[in-house]
Amino acid sequence: MSPNMSIRTTRRVRGTTVARVSGTYVLLAGLSLVAVAPLVFMAVASFESGAAAQNLSAKWWPTTPTLRNYTDLFEHTRMIRWFINSTIVAVVGTFLALLTSSTAGYVFARMNFPLRSVLFWSFVAALMIPTQVMLIPQYFLLARLDWLDTYQALILPGVTSAFGIFLIRQYLQSIPREFEESARVDGANEGQIYLWIMLPLMGPALATLATIQFINYWNEFLYPLVVTNSDNMRTLPVGLATLPTPSGGLPEVLAGTTIALIPVLILVPWLQRYLTGGLVMGGLKG
């Protein structure tokens, strides 16, 4: 956008009636309230005790604040273990997805080999197949490998990402080849070129992919529900959702959901930026 365009816009805003602008703000404030209120009520209820704790009501501050629900939760459930499990799975899985997508995306963007386009489009087509179609055979495969209830089972399916390959390839195609060519002239081998030239160039696309992959792992439900069965191997959403009503009742579970949401809430401004950035890169331009 050119600078004189923004001056013109500002002038127009000044000219707009105050009523319209304040109307917009009131409307947006109301809508934002609807968006976040359930999560605020949840957090409030997780600090509630006594009779007030039995319902999840619309309240902005607990009547009788207590930390009891949190201490009960840690005492009665494997909450800490689930949190650690979710973290391990999300971090390791995201790292591996970055590795496979960046190498494969690089290959599809820059190298020549037979069946290249067939292979690439078969990856992209796989995006259309809903994961539920593979779920049952995957379950048997894992059972056969004796991998049910293990970290590798939880991590495995997210380790390759068709979307990631597509994203990296699209992104690299917009980057000129001069960088690699000059390094090649200087005698760098392909491994060095990938590691020292291509990876740094992919930065923004990798950030987007990491974001998407991390949220997917952190929030995934059906797959970890199926491939784990011991209390020790549950991830956070599965552990919480399959919790038999604990002695502390609803507020104890809500203490758990509040903790589960903290990491993503901390990351949210960052997530928003890279998530849309990536979708624009991969979807709209592609």
């Binding site: 020549n112 197949i129 495995l156 929030n219 919480l240 849309t276």
Partner: protein, 306 residues
């Protein structure tokens, strides 16, 4: 040459055959981890699902080949049709509402006013939460003395048993799904709105077009491909609804919220009929492909023009 026709890149000055052979090996080495996982853990299972649908496959014990018996059973299974109907109803309840609300929101937050960033952020928050986790919260909100009824009675509206009334349960789950998805769709549409060239809008304004005409005649047609994209994306994801119904209603009351994926899960891991579950999963695939194709046809008209 093996690569002829496949690549349209200009050939480089290096002697080709040697260099090319090396490149093929390099490509393979770089691709190897992806290929192993992708074929071993995705493509193979996808084919496996196709094969399993031809078997009577208990979770323990030997599978028995039954040919197309699972498909015949599926066609005569009232529960499958109920699950399909619930899934379609859920999609009809969520997708148009989500896209329309998101479009309205995107247009509002696209204005150049201070503080819009905060509102975008607030509206986006529900999307990044785990469905299973927020479903626990919404189950509490929908409780008989929960926040929803509390707000309704304050406004002198009738209260209800949102999740235990079979006529309301699916709608209640759908409301949560809209709440959760709308911020994400809004952001994609916002990115689309920001690609609309300012000059076009300015030109129309100079020609005395009013805001209404500008929006519906110029802006909307320009972003139609993106509207189509988000419609397809959100249709596909709504066909896969599971987490919310598993946590909030357990498929009930009765079978009023048993969706296709819920029925797959239930057949496989509660009913222990793996072959039959694989058959339902294939039906889901067919439904998703068919609906995306139809949507592309119906909404895709504007795609070529832009």
């Amino acid at each position: 040459m093996a690569d002829s026709g496949l690549n349209k890149r200009p050939t480089r000055h290096v002697p080709l055959s040697r260099r090319h052979k090396r490149e093929v090996w390099l490509a393979l080495a770089f691709l190897a981890p992806t290929l192993v996982v992708f074929f071993g853990f995705r493509n193979l299972p996808a084919l496996g699902g196709l094969a399993m649908s031809l078997f009577d496959w208990p979770i323990i014990g030997t599978p028995k080949f039954v040919g197309t018996a699972n498909f015949t059973a599926l066609m005569n299974d009232p529960l499958f049709w109920a699950a399909l109907k619930n899934t379609l109803t859920f999609t009809a309840l969520t997708v148009p509402a989500t896209v329309i609300i998101a479009l309205a929101l995107a247009s509002i937050v696209n204005q150049r006013l201070p503080g819009m960033r905060i509102f975008r952020l607030a509206l986006f928050i529900p999307f990044i939460t785990s469905t299973a986790v927020v479903a626990i919260v919404w189950k509490g909100l929908y409780g008989s003395k929960g926040a929803v009824n509390q707000v309704f009675s304050t406004l002198h509206l009738p209260t209800a048993d949102w999740l235990s009334n079979p006529d309301l349960a699916l709608v209640s789950v759908a409301v949560m799904a809209i709440w959760k998805e709308v911020g994400f769709i809004m952001l994609i549409l916002l990115a689309g709105l920001q690609t609309v060239p300012k000059e076009v809008v300015e030109a129309a304004r100079i020609d005395r077009a009013n805001s209404f005409q500008i929006y519906f005649r110029i802006v909307l047609p320009l972003i139609l491909p993106i509207v189509l994209l988000v419609t397809i994306l959100s249709t596909i994801s709504s066909f896969q609804v599971f987490d919310a119904t598993y946590v909030m209603t357990g498929g009930g009351p009765g079978y009023s919220t048993t969706t296709l994926v819920y029925y797959i899960y239930n057949s496989a891991f509660v009913g222990l009929r793996m072959g039959y579950a694989a058959t339902i999963a294939l039906a889901l695939l067919v439904v998703i492909l068919a609906v995306s194709l139809i949507q592309r046809r119906l909404l895709g008209g504007g795609e070529d023009e832009s």
